[in-house]
Structure formats: C-alpha cells, structure tokens
Amino acid sequence: MRGNCPKLFTVFTENSSSFANRTSITLNFRHFFLGFAYILLFICLALSIILWIPLHTHQTQVPSVLFDRASLDHLPELVVLNNSLPLPTQKNCTYYTCFDVYKCSHTHSGKIGVYVYPVVEFVDKDKVPITRKITLEFYNILKAITKSVYFTSDPNEACLFIPTIDLLNQNRIRPKDVGKALTSLPYWNDGRNHLIFNILPGSMPEYYPFLEVDIGYAMMTSGGFSSLTYRSGFDVSVPIYSPLAGEAAELRKQNFQDRKWLVISSQPNIHEDFREVISEMAAEHPKFLVLNSCASSPLDPRLRCRDEEIYNFPDILLNATFCLVVRGARLGQPALSESLAAGCIPVVVSDSYVLPYAEVIDWKSAVLQLYEDDLSKIMDLLQCVSSDRISEMRRKGNWIYTRYFSSMERIALTTLRIVNDRVFPHIGRSYSDWNDPDERHLACNTFALPIGPPRSQGFTAVVLTYDRLESLFHVLERISKAPSLAKIVIVWNNQFRDPPPISSWPRLPKPLQIVRTKRNQLSNRFYPFPEIETEAILAMDDDIIMLTTDELEFGFEVWRQFPDRIVGFPSRTHVWDGPNNRWKYESEWTNNVSMVLTGAAFYHRVYNYYYSSAMPGDIKSWVDDHMNCEDIAMNFLVANLTGKAPIKVAPRKKFKCPECVNADLLSVDLSDMTAHMAERSECINRFAHIYGRLPLRSVEFRADPVLFKDNLPDAFKRFNEIGSL
C-alpha cells in the first residue's frame, strides 16, 4: 500500500498546481498567499489521511509493546506463583509425538502462524526478577519474528508460540523459577507447540548440553547440543552468535590479505589437555599460530596473545587458512561463527557436538570435522588439503555465514523456516536450496539420469508454418515415413487464413494435430504445447524437404544418447571478428560447430519451458519483434544451461538457406542476404551481452553412423541414406 502513496501524491499536486495557477493570475498578492496556504493545508491533510490508512491497518498487527524498544525500560511486572508444578523436559519428544500439528493444519498458505507473547517481566513474590534484563539479541529475535511473514497476533491462529522470557543464556536466569513462569503462560499447554530460544545451555560446573529448565513438550533451540541431548527433527541447533563475527565479516570485505598462517587456534582458555597437544604441534610447524587471552587484560575479547606478542582479534583470523574450533566447557563455541565470517575454514574438534542447523546444512563442504582423539593428526591432514577444496570450502562457508549466521534476525528466521519445513514438508526446501550457492536449474533434475528416453517413445515433429502449403505437405510426407515419429504437430502461425480442410491434407500414417496461434510469432515454435507428449521434439521448418528417413532415425538415435543437447543437421558457428571487435555469425563450411539450427533439430521438450518462461533479458520479445534469430536464442539458452556444445549429425547438405525461411525471404536477394547475415551477427553480440558472456561452445566433430563411408556394401549398413542429396 505504501508503494501507492507517491503516485497519489503526484496526482494531487498536479491538480492543485493548476488550481494555483488560476488563482495567482487573477488575484492579488495577498490572495496568492492565502490560496497557497489552502493548498498547503489541503496537501497536508491529504497526506496525513493517506499515511494514516495503511498505518491504521498495519497497527492492529503489531503489539506496541514489542515494536517499541523504549518500553523495555518499564515493563509490566507479573508475579510467578510458587504453587505451579512445571512438567519436566520430555527427553523422548519427536515432532510426531510432542507437536500438535492440528493447530497448523488449517492454514493453506503453507506458512506456520507464529504468536509472540507480550513482553512482561516475571518477578518472584519478593519482587526480584527471575531473569536478568532482556538482551539485545533476544530483542532482535522478537523483532525479526514480529516482522516476518510467519507472525500472527491472534493466538487462535497460531501454530507456534514464542515465550518472551529471555533464556538465551542459562547463566542469566533462575531455572526453577523460569519453569514455573512458563507454566503460567496463557497458552502453555505443557509446552506443546512452544519454541524456546536458547543459545548457551548449562551452567557451572557441569555445563550440561541442554537448557536446564523444565519446558515440558516444548521445542528448543540451542547452540550447544550434544548428539545425546539433541532431539532430532524436534530441536533446532543454532550457531553461537558472536558480535565479533560481524566485525570480521566487515573486515573481510575491506581487505584481501595474504593468508600467512595455515592454522590459527585463537580460542582463549582451551583446556590444558588440548592445549598441550596443540602447542606441541605448533612447536614443530612454523605456520601454526596458537593464541591465548592476554595476561595483561584477560577479559578483552579484542586482544589475543602469543606469549608477549599481541594480536588484534578478530583481524588475525583473516590471516589464516584454517581456524581451530575446539570444544570448551561448552560444546558450541563462538569461534565457529567468527572463523566462518573471516573466511577461515573451521576445523571443528568437538565430539558429539551437533553443528548449527545440522538438519538442513551439509557441513562436510564447509568445515573439517575431527574427533578429539585425532587432534594430534591435524597438521598432516591440513597440509594435504588441495587449494581447490580450500577455495570451495571458503566460498561455501562464507555463503552459509551471510545467509544463516550473520545476524540474530537471520538466525531466528532460519529457525522458523526449519520448523515451517517440518510442518509443510511437501513444499519444504531441498538439499540444494539450503546448501548450494549456485542456483540449481530444473534442467539438472530433468537430466539427472544418465540416459535418454527409450526408443519406443519416439519423437514429436513440430513444424512451424505460415502459408507454404505445398512445401509443407512435401515435408510431412517425407518425415512421416520415419518409424520413430510418434506424432506431427503443425503450428499454424497464419491468423488470416484457416488451415485447409482435412480432406486436402496428405494421407499420413502418423497422427497429426494442428495448433493455431493467436499471433504470428517465431516463439510459437518453442511453446510447450500440451500436444507434445514425447520427451524428444524434432523442430522442422516447412521447407526442409531434403532429409531422409535414415537421417531422421539416426538423428533420433544420437539425441537419445545426448538428450540434454540440441542434436540436428544444419550447423553454424561463431567467429571472433578481431578488427571490428565483435562476434560474427558464420555459415561457411568450417571445421567448427557451435550452433545447430532448429530448422531441423532434435531437442528435449523441457527447453520449451525455459524458452517460454525463463529466458534472460528481453531476448524473447526481441526475437518476436524482429522475426529472426529464434534458433540462435535457443542455442544460447541450451548452451548456457548445460555448458555443452550441440551435436551436428551427418555431413553437410545444401539446405535451402534455413535462415532465410524465418524472415520469409522467399526471393533470396544477395543484398537481402548480407543484411540478413549481419542481423544474425548482431543477434549473437546482443545475446552475449545479455548473458554477460558467450555461452556457446565450439566443437570440431560431428556424429556419423559407425560404418559411414566405410568401404562396405550398403547391405551391411543400417543407415544408408546419410548425406545423400
């Protein structure tokens, strides 16, 4: 709604300024100011009303108590009753046994509704607060949730409830009292469908890897689960947020330093058992830097020391390839986030630690994990890691950090997203959605299997025609002899003339369907018509009458081996026109093939979807406007998706200038011809510009039958009429 405001505003100003013109001309100076005041007031009024309307509707959704950070200073107090008996945490909970899915089932939007309790301060009967003041991180979590798409202010619509007691750090709360406070929440219901945000569980001296609060059936997030306490598919493991990580990420953007150290161990106060092993290794390897807190200021998180040398933290992480993340008293360590942010590959040595978001993130490609027993072997391992893998892991780690770790807001939303995927698994994000920095294409899935469809499925010939009936009939008669042809689809691109009655079509042994189009566009030939039922499409121009049955059958055979490529007959190539500094389209007899024209070519029907809906830039409309280059566009599309070259089948024939057909240049004039070729060169340059690179790949081979041109009698050869004119 807000997007509309500026528009309305301009409408008003235009009206009023014309009004102002009229008054200023006819009335005197004073009247002009008076009029001006009118207008000003009128505009103000209009503006206030316009702004008021959206805010008014918006207002009902956001409870002011959350939206307003100022009110955190004086929260309403709520006394925790001592007689309530909290249900102990259920260790065996799973999503199916402890989560009431019926509360979520009525939403068809595929989004869980999340309700956030109003923020109050719980105090015991002596008016002493049971938790310390709300923290910035928890405030950010609540803010992120209330602003997210999942938020609902109606507890009856909610599927997930977020208590607003700040439990991020167990050291800041009184666990017994918090358990009682939770039971006093109005929708608590023994904790069902509640999500407790915690990051640092356990406290001295045991540091139990689970929040020691009785939360009943509630789910929990934590930064320190061990695989013994983590309830798989129910709890969510989150990263230990560190404000220093953000600084490291900023630093990383600014400078690209040489990574001088191979490994850094930067954690302060690692246990003596580990420190001994680490120091021993560091003594042998000069590229191993071991840091500890500084004796002079042991509490300054920005300083680390090696004996007397002082290093700035987190800056030093930018100088290392690998960063050691060893377990401390708690399993999860903030060093994980910090090193990911700094582009330093974490080496996690923490037995049974459940890595953050382990449910969805595949950590194998971003961190190295080792057992605590193997700590001493670490240098041997790290020295063997190839530079390819280092850069891959660094890229991946950085991607994970910015996407899921970089702020409390992201941490909260990622958590909700995971819960949402559990409730609506059929629309949940897949492995590649969660893990792959590169955008995954449908094409990858379509060609997941290494082989093409069976021969018995056959192919569908799609023939685009306008009005050249005679030549069309000739083509149809020819191709219909191919045994693998399943069906012919005629795309009738002429809106001014009806297709001739069935009686006048040639009698064909194969089914034929005519599709009429609404506009005379070249893109119509690549439209994903439901009439096309086979995976293979043979695109044909209506004047390619020289193809033999053997050639078609062989072409289909080749396509079945390479279903992700364009496999066809007329080939072209692109060459770099050095003097003019641009690409040139080449149709001469050359040793290279980088395009196969769709005047006679097989391709997979999935590319029709891409051509119609996922072509970058304005290529599609440009092609339709200029009535040219649709075949070049298709070659660019496929090459860009697969990174592979097309395959030319059989030797060159004298095709009747397939390019000319598209432009309907029936009388081939020499000057027209050159203009036409120039336009096609222009296409290549234009498309390359839109793609940002030239995706075409050039090859020097073509596909022939095994015994082609071998000195054998024809009787021994399966495909004989290949290359004959």
Binding site: Y96, P301, P334, S430, N435, Q457, E533, F554
Partner: protein
C-alpha cells in the same frame, strides 16, 4: 467572500490540528528510531563468557572421554565412545565370523555375506579387520518367525572376536513380535552398530546406527540395471492414477489405524486405496464391518499394474514402521508418499529424500490427496527422475545396499572426507567415488565439464594444463625372441613414439615395459621433439596384464591415452580423439571398437570384432579416458574380477569397458580412423582371417560371461554413433579441413613400417591370444 475564505482556512487548520492530535501518534510509527530514548540492552554473552574466563571443567576432557568409553550404555553409543578407531588405521577391511553350518540361515543373509566376501572390503585376517560381521543370521529377530535363531546370546558371547560387540555391524530386518512389535532384538548387541530396517527416531542412535530398507527374499544379489525400469516406467505423459495403494490392513492393534482409515481417500478414479483384511489364519474372527466391502474392491485391482500406472504411491507403515512397499514403489518408478511417523527413512544420513519423496503425516491422512495434487508437473518429473536415480544407485540390489552401509560407516570413521550430499545425490553417486582420489568433486570425470564451463575464465595454471593435455601410456609387451628390436631406427614402438610426440597436446609419454626382454638403456631411447619427457616404467608383476591400468604418479594430466606399441595412428587422429574426449571426459573415446551380442543358440553372451553397425566397447589399444578410471580399476573392482584377468592374461580391456559403462551407464565413443586393410573387398569382413584365432575369441567370450556373472548384469551399452571431424569426407578442398591426415591416402603408406601388418581393421587384442611361454 473574504469571510468565507477565512472560515474555510480556519476550518482546515482546525481539522489539520485535530488530525495531528488524534492520529498523529500513528505517524510516529514511521520513524521509530528518531529522537527516542533507547534503553541500552545487554549482550547475552558478557566478555567473561566470551573469553571463557571462568571456565571450569568438572572433569578434564581426556578423563571424561576415557570414562565415557568405559561406561557408555548401549542407548548412548556414539562412534567416539563405542567404536575402536585404532583397528581401522591400516585400512577399511571387513572380517566375517565363521559361519556355523548347523545353524539355519536365510537366503537374504547368505546373499549379504556373499556380497561382502567377494568385495574389495573383505579380509580373512581378523587382526587386519576394522569391521566385523556376524556369521549368524540376525535378520529376523521375531521370535515367532521360522528364521529366528535361538540361543543367540550365548553364541555371541563365545565368538572369539566379539569383544562386547565393538566394531561389529548387526544387520536386522525384523525385531519384536506380536503384540507390540518393539525394536528389541532379543539379545544384547553391546557396542555393535545396528543396521536395521524399521528403525524409529527414538531408538536411532544418530551417526551410529544405520537405517536399512526392508528387502524381499527375491531381491537381486548384485547388478540391478537402471534401464528396463526406466524404459517402462517413465513415460513423458502422466500416468493413469494419481495415488495408489494396495495392501493388507490389520483391523486392530499396533499400526492398524493408518491403514484402516485409508478407505476415506479411495475414490476409484485417480486415487486408489484398496485394502484387505485377509491375513493370517484367523482374520475372519477379527473382521470389522468394512471387511467385505474392502475385500471386494481389493480384488478389482492388480498390484503390479497399479504401481506401474500411478504417479504417486503410498508407503504407509505396517505393524512395523518400514514396509516392503518402499522398495517396491521405488522399483516400479513410482514416487513414494511416506506415511510412517517417526520412521528413520533408509540412508537418510547421506540421501536427501526431499527431492525424491513426499512426506505425509499420519495424523493428517485426509490431506494427502490435496498435497499430492498441489505438486506441479515439472516437480513430478524431477521427483520421478531423482527417485529412480536413488533406486539405481543405492537400492537396486543387495550389494548396493550393503556397500552403501559400509561406505556410511567409513565416512563416519574418516569424518574429514569430502563426499558430501552433492556427491551422494547425483549420478553416479557416492559408491563409485573414491574419496582419496582428489578432495573436490570437480576433479571427477563426470563433473569436469560443468565445472570447466563455469570456471573456465577464472582458473589458470596447473589445473588448466592438466585438463588441456594428455599423458600417453604405451604398453609394450613383446616376447623374447620376437623380431622386434626396440631401439633401432625403425620398429613400431619408435614410430609410435614419434607420432605421439608430434601432437600438440601430449604432456608426457610413459612406456610400460612388460616385455620379458630387459629394459633398453636410456641411451637407446630416442630424444623426443619439444623436450617431451619419456619415462619407462617396469611393472612389478610383468605377467600381470592389469598393470597397464595402475595409477602412476607420473600421470598428472586428467587424460590418459592408452596405446599398444603396435598401434598405427597419425598425429591428427590422436589430436582429434583428444578433442572429442575433452567434451566427453567420463567416457572411453578411442578407435578399435568391439561389440557384444546375445547368442541365443548357446544361451550366453557373445563377443565379436566384426564390422557391425553398433559397438559397445572401445579397446584400450588406442583409447583415451580419464585417469580416475585407473584408480577405479585397480582399487575399486572386486578381487574375483582381477583374478579372472590375471588368470587368462587377457580381457583387461574388456573389463575396463565394463567398469566405465557400469559407472557411467553410457556407451563408449568411437572416432573415425583411416582403415588399415589391404584389400577392401568383402572377404576380409565376413570371412575368417588367419590371425583370427578361434581360441582367443573363445577366451574373451568366456571373460565376457564371467564379468556379466560377477557384475550381476550386462553393463555394456551399444552405440551406433561414430564421431568424425566436421568436414570428414565432405566434397570440399582438403586444404579447408583441419584433420587432413584422417582421410588422405598418402599417410597410409606408413604402414609399411609394420613388420606384421594387420590384415583387417585392427590387430591390437589378438596378439594377446598367443600363449606366453
């Protein structure tokens, strides 16, 4: 007029002020941050905690770990506490306890043991073993079942290497029995890893146990090809039913609720849910009011037809969480709709099931048709492809299931290995990916092309060099007393060296000297143009013909051009083959093609070198392939396959074709070659030539059939395509063509050099038929 204006002005001002007064506070929401007092909020972690200043350890980590290792109870077993890594330092070997002949064993367990015994993992030396497998059938631990082995506990405890179950894997399909079907095995497995079907989230020990699929007795022991399933069941058009299920229901008792309510979904149009109450002996006593009706509907549909004609198939729980449906549905090319709450789906540690199955919730059974209907066509296609892929890679036969299990354990032992979800979930999968070959997937042959196109512009240096050049590996195997004198001015080997060294792309030439004659001294080898390094390698076991595929450190390039010393090629042919290979780095690209055929009269596979319209093998006498296949050949193939080659001193080129076809499921590629025959009349093609030794062919044919038996199926795929240069034999001037030598007759005269000029197209393999004395 004036007064009127003033009133209007006054009114407007009042209205504005009123609006500001009543509604203005809402405007504040627009600028919440401006001019407000912000209470300063604490950080949840103070610097003391950040620096772990007061960190306190109730137990030092070493001690805590020792205690955990000593005291961990079964439910809390994890790799770090219950597994002895020290046994796996020398390698990942599996030992099978001796099988007691007296104790009955189910056919499935026998298959499992067979598969492991014949695999590369197996060892007979318990002291070398990392993993131990019982010789006792633990698959069926339902005490009412006929396969139940009694007195298991005492048998276990008396095993010499049992050691409290440490480093053991226990395979199990059924546990518990009527009426509650618990997951109790009726024995104490101690610290053993449990590989079990129907395991529940509550009992699954993460990163320790493994969830298996439940398989039939008839499940293939090995092999299991992708093709027939694919061909029949993935038509492009949608299938006739949307969602289908046909099976028993239990009327009452554990796990019966879900199946009992399935009839609500049945609409006999596109959602077919038919159940029967008939099971066991006494079903009639327990039947409910729907049974008659259900049974009638049940008989209307054929199970197989239903599965094959449905897009989605329901996989509901039975008495236990997992059911045979899972495997059956995958096999039928149907997309599974899982309806089994708390079930740990098979191999979920490595497989991303989100892209290949639909999850449903038993509690929301009635929503299942809506969920299934809401999935758009493209996603259905992708789901079907991916589920077929997973079926093929990990479930289609017992050996794949067992090897996947072992590889998962290996991956846990070596946590730092890089085989991530991308490798496991895309073709050809984790089983054929040796993690120690390279540490990024982009170095594997099948990923090379995509990564090359993506990173073509940014990389440089050594990697590019490795991709743009090849190493020629020439296998020299001349017998003593042969007329060949290696270092004289002529001879096929020298000629070949010269031809190869003229190629622009050759990085290094390696001669594998398998001849019994002593290696000629370095001075007698020619120096090659452009300083191309020439290495002579003498294999340790000369008679072992598989030595030519040993992964040598000398081979640094991705491409290996494997040549027999008597190969007659021109430089153009070599360059062209390399050009083609760079576009198909996962395949074997080469010249001499052979084919296999089914000999119906003998009921076995036949092998032929005749000129046919199709081929399925390209012999390594002159072929180019990725060096990764050297490693697969040497390390990955089972010992029996190696033994076959070693004993026959033959067939190694057939085996590598089997290997590559098995891995890639694609045929090799033949490129055109000048024909090397003297008289081009028909007789050379059809009639037997003198060198065409029938014994030799017989031997190769035997090899072929042995390989088929050991692979479990025929992996070779035929192709009718040959790759030629673009202008090959086109009516244009030869000067315009890039690879001119490939058709000009002039160069063919060089064949005079050959002392034993072949009469037909290729001679490479037949030489090996001569028994070596």
């Amino acid at each position: 007029m004036q007064a009127k204006q003033r009133y209007i002005l006054l009114f407007l001002s009042c209205a504005f002020l009123a609006l500001c007064y009543f509604g203005g506070y809402r405007l504040k929401g627009l600028f919440p941050d401006r001019g407000r007092h912000w209470p300063s909020l604490d950080c949840y972690m103070d610097s003391e905690e950040l620096m772990e200043h007061r960190s306190f350890w109730s137990l030092p980590p070493k001690q805590r770990q020792e205690e955990a290792k000593a005291n961990t109870v079964r439910e809390q077993c994890r790799m770090e506490t219950c597994f002895d890594f020290s046994k796996c330092v020398s390698g990942f070997k599996v030992y099978i306890h001796p099988v007691e002949e007296m104790v009955a064993m189910s056919s499935t367990y026998r298959k499992i043991l067979n598969v492991i015994t014949e695999s590369r993992y197996h060892t007979t030396d318990a002291s070398q073993a990392c993993l131990f497998i019982l010789g006792l059938d633990t698959l069926d631990r339902d005490s009412l079942s006929s396969d139940y082995v009694r007195g298991m506990q005492s048998k276990l405890n008396s095993l010499p290497h049992w050691n409290g179950g440490q480093n053991h894997i226990i395979f199990n399909f059924y546990s518990g029995t009527w009426p509650d079907y618990t997951e109790d095995l009726g024995m104490d497995i101690g610290r053993a890893i449990l590989a079990k079907a129907s395991i529940s989230v509550q009992n699954y020990r993460p990163s320790f146990d493994i969830s298996l699929p439940l398989v039939h007795k008839e499940h293939l022991e090995r092999g299991g090809d992708i093709l027939p399933v694919y061909a029949e069941n993935i038509p492009a058009a949608s299938k006739s039913y949307l969602l289908a299920f046909k099976g028993k229901r239990y009327v009452y008792g554990i796990g019966s609720e879900t199946r009992n309510s399935l009839y609500h979904l049945h609409n006999s149009r596109d959602v077919i849910m038919v159940t029967t109450c008939k099971h066991g002996k006494s079903w009639k006593e327990l039947k409910d009011e729907r049974c008659e009706e259900d049974n009638a509907e049940y008989d209307r549909y054929d199970y197989e037809v239903l599965l094959h004609n449905s897009t989605f198939c329901l996989v509901p729980r039975g008495r236990r969480l997992g059911s045979f449906r899972f495997i059956e549905v995958l096999q039928a090319g149907c997309i599974p709709v899982l309806l089994s709450n708390n079930w740990v789906i098979p191999f979920s540690e490595i497989i991303d099931w989100k892209t290949s199955a639909i999850w449903a919730d038993e509690r929301l059974l009635l929503q299942v048709p809506d969920i299934v209907r809401s999935i758009e066509a493209e996603r259905v296609m992708a789901l079907r492809q991916q589920s077929q892929l997973l079926w093929h890679m990990y479930f289609s036969s017992i050996d794949r299931i067992i090897f996947t299990t072992l590889e998962i354990v290996l991956q846990r032992i070596q946590q730092h290995l890089w085989r991530d979800g991308r490798v496991w979930n895309s073709f050809p999968g984790g089983l054929v990916t040796l993690p120690y070959y390279a540490d990024t997937p982009s170095r594997l042959p099948w990923n090379q092309q995509s990564s090359a196109s993506a990173a073509a512009l940014v990389t440089g240096g050594q990697k590019d060099k490795n991709a743009s050049q090849f190493t020629a590996v020439i296998y020299s195997q001349h017998q003593t007393g042969s007329p060949f004198v290696p270092a004289t001015s002529s001879g096929p080997l020298l000629h070949l060296l010269r031809v190869v060294s003229r190629s622009q792309h050759v990085a290094r030439i390696v001669v594998v000297w398998a001849s019994d004659a002593p290696k000629p001294p370095p001075s007698r080898w020619p120096s090659l143009t452009r300083g191309i390094p020439l290495h002579i390698v003498v294999p340790q076991q000369k008679q072992n013909i598989g030595e030519r595929f040993r992964p040598l450190d000398l081979i640094e390039t991705d491409a290996v051009f494997s040549l027999d010393e008597d190969a007659t090629l021109t430089t153009d042919e070599i360059d062209f083959a390399f050009h083609v290979w760079r576009h198909f780095p996962e395949r074997i690209v080469g010249f001499p093609a052979r084919t296999h055929y089914w000999d119906d009269t003998k009921g076995q596979w036949g092998y032929t070198s005749k000129w046919t319209n199709e081929y399925s093998m390209v012999l390594t006498g002159a072929a180019i392939y990725h060096r990764y296949y050297h490693m697969l050949y040497t390390d990955w193939l089972g010992p029996l396959l190696h033994k076959t080659v070693d004993q026959s001193r033959n067939c190694e080129d057939i085996l590598i074709n089997f290997l590559v076809s098995h891995v890639t499921r694609q045929p090799p590629i033949k490129v055109s070659q000048r024909k090397q025959y003297k008289n081009s009349n028909l007789s050379t093609v059809t009639s037997r030539s003198p060198w065409n030794d029938p014994d030799h062919f017989l031997q190769r044919q035997t090899c072929l059939n042995t390989f088929v038996a050991l692979f479990g199926y025929m992996p070779l795929i035929r192709s009718a395509v040959r790759f030629d240069p673009v202008l090959f034999k086109d009516p244009v001037s030869n000067l315009r063509k890039k690879y001119r030598q490939m058709e000009s007759r002039k160069y063919a005269t060089q064949k005079k050099i050959l002392p034993s000029d072949p009469v037909s197209c290729w001679v490479g393999e037949e030489r090996k038929g001569v028994p070596i004395r």
